[in-house]
């Protein structure tokens, strides 16, 4: 095989077939993909959850993961956030010519490993190779399908006054880990991305109580943006307490240095759950028993007044608004 990806690898010709068969079909080994038909045919019964996402992270390798792991986790998590059991993914690679074959293989390997952990199969895919400069090394587009169990009805508009807000662990790990590797910003940290598939955590939570009102993974825009979305969709306010939000000391330190607020920094392996108060402790206990929920905590509750607002009690005992993220997070001057 060639040591770099060439335009010919996306041409549909022999090199393209070689790439698909040797790199993808072998790695993702499953009967649906191996048929190499134009589409995968599957049987379903029940309510389907269907989602799509694109991944353009730079750099494509970062502490704690890479773009492949991220693509699987991100898609699986979007399905899990509607309570669905994730089943099948599609995967489309847009590759910048010149990408080392080794790097592609490593990413394919981590897609395979993460898919296996998440219990999903890659059943269809596509590869395009574009001229140098037309993409940044590698972009991945995915779609995902899952089945929603009976009796589960989770949506962003279902938060009710009195509900408790649970966060599954520390915030900001992914955003700071990725930023630490970026050209022009590199700083050294032991921090790793929290990138993880959350299907098993959600399954545990639903076992504890199927009556979960909202689930959302606070990815780009961070916890603050997610809570604002829920408050607006449900026409309620969310009151959180700063002291109860778990944040690693390294994340706090990096945020201070860069002038960020951890509430706005991205996560890839965390979720926010809005649950009835009576079930909160049971769900929290179930979460803490799962490897991706050991740091879970109740961080606040839902209120009727000031609909659409998120308000935080600070460590001084005062209250302040927590708004959505505006634009990009940009490091400050001093």
């Amino acid at each position: 095989m060639a040591d770099k990806i060439l335009l010919a690898h996306g041409s549909g010709g022999k090199l393209a077939h070689e790439l698909v068969e040797k790199s993808f079909v072998k790695a993702f080994a499953n009967p649906l993909l191996a048929k190499l038909d134009d589409s995968a045919a599957m049987d379903f019964s029940g309510r389907l959850a269907f989602t799509t996402d694109s991944y353009v992270v730079s750099p494509i390798f970062f502490p704690g993961g890479d773009i492949g792991k991220l693509a699987v986790c991100g898609t699986v998590n979007d399905l899990a956030m509607s309570g669905a059991k994730p089943l099948y993914l599609s995967l489309a690679f847009i590759i910048e010519e010149g990408l080392p074959q080794d790097e592609l293989n490593e990413i394919v390997g981590s897609v395979q490993k993460t898919a296996q952990e998440a219990g999903v199969e890659i059943v269809t895919g596509d590869t395009k190779v574009v001229h140098r400069g037309s993409a940044d090394k590698l972009f991945i587009n995915t779609a995902g399908i899952g089945i929603i169990p009976q009796g589960v009805d989770i949506s962003g508009d279902k938060a009710r006054p009195g509900d408790k807000v649970i966060l599954s662990g520390t915030i900001g790990d992914h955003g700071i880990a990725v930023l630490s590797q970026r050209e022009g910003l590199s700083f050294s940290t032991q921090l790793k991305s929290d990138c993880a598939p959350l299907g098993s955590l959600v399954a545990k939570m639903l076992e504890a109580s199927p009556d979960i009102h909202c689930l959302r993974d606070p990815t780009r825009g961070g916890l603050a943006t997610t809570l604002n979305e829920l408050a607006k969709q449900s026409k309620v306010s969310v009151r959180i307490e700063e002291a109860k939000i778990p944040v690693r000391e390294e994340v706090l330190a990096a945020c201070e240095m860069l002038g960020f607020d951890p509430l706005y920094v991205a996560n890839e392996g965390k979720l926010v759950a809005v649950v009835p108060a009576k079930d909160a402790d049971r769900i929290l206990k179930a979460m803490r028993e799962n490897q991706y929920g050991t740091g879970a905590a109740i961080i606040g509750e839902v209120k009727a007044e000031h609909p659409g607002r998120v308000v935080m009690k600070t460590c001084l005992g005062a209250s302040r608004i927590v708004d959505m993220l505006v634009g990009d997070l940009l490091p400050r001057i001093c």
Partner: protein, 364 residues
């Protein structure tokens, strides 16, 4: 010692807050000069927990906010030149200049890159020998030494394609200008922490001596600011005016001598234009003659578009502490962080942005 969580402990904060309430008898107005302090004050809702005797006003200590439109326009004009890479700190990207912003020219194809330090800008210059790399030197005494160091590094490493647009500003002269204007009456000044880490606390002595205003240098955590306010209150109630440091872990009275030496070697004071305040003598820094070939204004021929200030925007009055963001007709309506009209709404350290993001019905 943990340098962040230790300074956010609510039980300690509670003690300080009660002490301030007990001590404060006289009605006073304190100014926090620095935008970083403004952000902490709003982010933690500090104004809500202070007694009614204490009024806090925000000062002009946000480097992005005080940069004159004419200087921003130069940066825009430079970014439009062929084979130029503009490197800058992140919060400059969104600031509206007279007719555009770096974010917009970037979308139009200009090569504008965000860096965290000048070291990174130098690396970009080394990796792109056929391009001219211009660093936008915006900031106070805090950032000036790192930019001075990068200039010396560029010389030492024979990097010939590295330039600086220096719009640096110095803090003590502008505070003197503010106090001399008599527009705002102050009973205490929270002196900037990072600036003082470089220049020390001595340069603030004139404020205590000539204007009888108590001064305390503060750090940026909520407990730092509470301690600073408590010390200011103590001075007021004792009828004193002196310079104290409530940020011993970062600031020495004499400052950072190495950093000061670097500034002195590379830069010389010059008059500078401050948004809303006007020209203040000796409040800017320009490259000394021997480094002038690295000054972007000299190396490149640019004709910035004529500067224009948006109508209705009162950023200038806000920067002087004469008005507050809620006095502005545009605030929260025509001017929001998504669609900023003035720089105080766009900079992460701007007063309007802090009022808008953290204030609303609850903060303030």
């Amino acid at each position: 010692m943990k340098f962040i969580t230790e300074f956010r402990r609510s039980e300690l904060a509670g003690g300080l807050i009660s002490q301030i309430h007990r001590r404060s008898k006289t009605s006073v107005r304190f100014m926090e000069f620095c935008g970083g302090h403004t952000v902490t004050i709003f982010r933690y809702g500090l104004r809500q927990v202070l007694p009614q005797t204490i009024e806090m006003v925000s000062g002009p200590g946000c480097p992005v906010c005080v940069t004159a439109n004419a200087d921003l326009d130069k940066a825009i004009a430079l970014s439009r030149l062929p084979d130029v890479i503009i490197t800058t700190f992140g919060d400059m990207l969104k600031v509206p200049a007279s007719h555009s912003s770096l974010q917009k020219v970037k979308a139009d194809g200009a090569d504008v890159r965000v860096v965290y330090s000048t070291t990174d800008a130098l690396v970009i210059a080394e990796r792109n020998p056929t391009k001219s790399v211009i660093f936008l030197g915006i900031g106070f005494e805090t950032t000036a030494p790192t930019i001075a160091a990068s200039i010396l590094q560029a010389k030492a490493r024979r990097i010939k394609n590295y330039y600086i647009l220096s719009v640096h500003k110095l803090c003590p002269p502008v505070i003197r200008a503010l106090l001399d204007s008599g527009e705002v009456k102050l009973h205490g000044l929270i002196c900037p922490g990072h600036v003082s880490a470089i220049i020390g606390s001595h340069p603030w002595e004139f404020i205590a001596r000539d204007y009888n205003i108590p001064c305390v240098v503060s750090g940026f955590e909520p407990l730092d600011i509470l301690q600073c306010v408590d010390m200011l209150v103590a001075q007021v109630e004792n009828g004193e005016s002196k310079v104290e440091i409530a940020y011993r872990r970062g600031v020495r009275p004499e400052g950072n001598r190495e950093a000061l030496k670097l500034i002195e070697q590379v830069f010389e004071p010059c008059p500078a234009e401050w948004r809303g305040i006007g020209e203040v003598p000796d409040s800017g820094l320009r490259l000394r003659k021997e480094y002038q070939t690295l000054a972007a204004e000299f190396a490149f021929d640019i004709e910035p578009e004529p500067a224009y200030e948006p109508g209705g925007c009162i950023c200038g009055d806000i920067l002087r502490g004469v008005k507050t963001p809620t006095d502005c007709k545009l605030f929260g309506k025509a001017c929001t962080p998504e669609y900023p009209v003035g720089p105080c709404m766009v900079s992460s350290e701007g007063s309007c942005s802090a009022y808008y993001l953290y204030g609303g019905d609850f903060g303030g």
